[in-house]
């Protein structure tokens, strides 16, 4: 993989780099930004913010609820036991099982959705260990040869930039 990127000491400089890359004609999806913490105080920290995790969690909860209902209904109707005169399918105690399985479904769906949508476990991609020391990486993976000089210039312009090519 070829890449050109800059390392910046603060979000202020990183934002400038992102803006200059945009001005150089790059779309947000072509710009790689890496940081050691969420950068919500800066505009670039809000790229790619929209996600479906809440809806996926709700769907997982519904799935868990159905599984809880199915587990209690099917088993209790198939193997009926008389317990203290309670109905064979007693709603009050079964609601506890259904509730727990609903929440379990929501939790598992959230975690699976996080792993899949955040690309965890896939590896690869532009990375520099200096990011975990506090530097913010702004770069472009596999840049077009013709644009390389422009991109380097854009990345070098913010104060304190350290530009690298790999």
């Amino acid at each position: 993989m070829k890449a050109v990127y800059g390392l910046y000491a603060d979000g202020h400089a990183a934002q400038q780099a992102v803006n200059r890359l945009r001005a150089a004609g790059l779309a947000d999806r072509e710009i790689t930004i890496l940081s050691a913490q969420p950068m919500e105080d800066f505009e670039f920290g809000h790229i790619d913010k929209k996600n479906w995790l809440w809806w996926i969690a709700c769907a997982g909860g519904l799935l868990g609820m159905s599984a809880g209902f199915g587990l209690t209904w099917l088993t209790e109707m198939s193997w009926p036991i008389n317990v203290g005169g309670l109905p064979i399918y007693a709603w009050w105690p079964n609601l506890i099982i259904i509730f727990e399985m609903t929440m379990l479904g929501a939790i598992l769906a959230t975690v699976i959705a996080l792993v899949v949508t955040a690309g965890l476990g896939r590896g690869g991609g532009l990375y520099d260990p200096e990011v975990t020391d506090g530097s913010i990486l702004v770069g472009v993976e596999n840049p077009a040869e013709a644009k390389l000089a422009d991109l380097q210039q854009a990345l070098e312009s913010p104060p304190g930039a350290r530009v690298k090519t790999v």
Partner: protein
Amino acid sequence: MSYPSHQQINRDLLRPLTQTSWRFYALVALPSAMVLAGLISWFTQMTFGFGISGIRWPIFWGFYVTNFVFWIGISHAGTLISAILRLVNAGWRRPVTRCAEVITVFALMIGAMFPIIHLGRPWLAFWLFPYPSERLIWPNFRSPLVWDFFAINTYLTGSVLFLFLPIIPDFAVARDRATGLRRRIYGALALGWRGTPKQWHRLETAMQIMAVAIIPVAVSVHTIVSFDFSMAPVPMWQTTIFGPYFVAGAIFSGIAALLIAMAVLRKVLHLEAYLHPVHFQNLGKLLLVMALLWGYFVFNERLVTYYGNEPAEMAVFWRTQRESFAPLYWTMVICNFVLPLILMGIRRFRTITGCVIASIGVVIGMWLERFLIIVPALGHKYLPYSFGTYRPQPVEIIITAATFAAMILLYALFSKVVPIISMWELKAGDPPSPSASARLADARPVSRGEVNS
């Protein structure tokens, strides 16, 4: 409050992972020996049977069920408190959350062992699990013990994930600084984390969802544990107050455990720059609130029983208030109410030392509370033929002590392999360097002409 630099945070919080002093081995040696003694006691009990314990008719729930309820209560320290602090976005939570979440996971593991120890024949524990058996019945979903199985497993699964997710970015930091086998292990645990805005957003959203989901689960767990009692026809157990009373008690003991853990970590791992007195003061205030709430619930429970004046209930009532269990009862009141009220209520005593003393008192008091709910009532049910006494035997005492040692051991081992304070959350707590106006200006896309100039 000073803000250490990113490098400083990495250096300080990764130090325990890379450097091992004799103190660590000393810290681990004693609890390891006690855990070993506990295991030997357990195997002895399995070999010779329950006859060597103090559990016998009519009191079949002694130390083991006391420990079960106590440890499940302690587990409310972490995930619940952490989830609430995350949802209200309390800035001071950052160094505290992981210390708390770890307690939840280990306390749940220890607590969940007790029903198995209490079975006497642990190899039959699978009878508790829902599966179609040769007896052609499924476990009875109307039994509170089966509710326990579902609630505790859901809470344990949720708590492990709630703990693990925010560690992923910290595993990436550890990966970048490790070599050899450690690097490979931390690399695998980091799941290829890079820190793109997309990953941060997904992680933060997932943590919010988990926080929302885990709070009702945590409340349900201890409510269901209280149902183990309140669904049974035993004097002073069948009361509607048990659910909230147990939940409040669980949070109370959980905060106390968290304060003790934080004070020990601060001292042993030299985390003075991260765990400030203000963290202890804030949690101390919470401890005070919970002490008042606990007092309110106890008063309610006692007053209603007293006015009900039902003979069997009054017999248990007086056993705890002024007869054989009175010394334990009033010790509990002093530990859970008087001590925290004085130490946390008076500002000058709300120091780290004051918090630790009050918390030790609360942990002792809450263990006594669980014991006093179980034993006096079981020993004095409705008819005289079922009256009896309970004397804990060495095997139960050793196993109980071993669980406390197990908690210390697991906590020490965890803090040796994982940063005990969330590094990325600390870094995110940095004051933003540029002013708001400068940030707005930054967000303005520049023209191609400006770039070229």
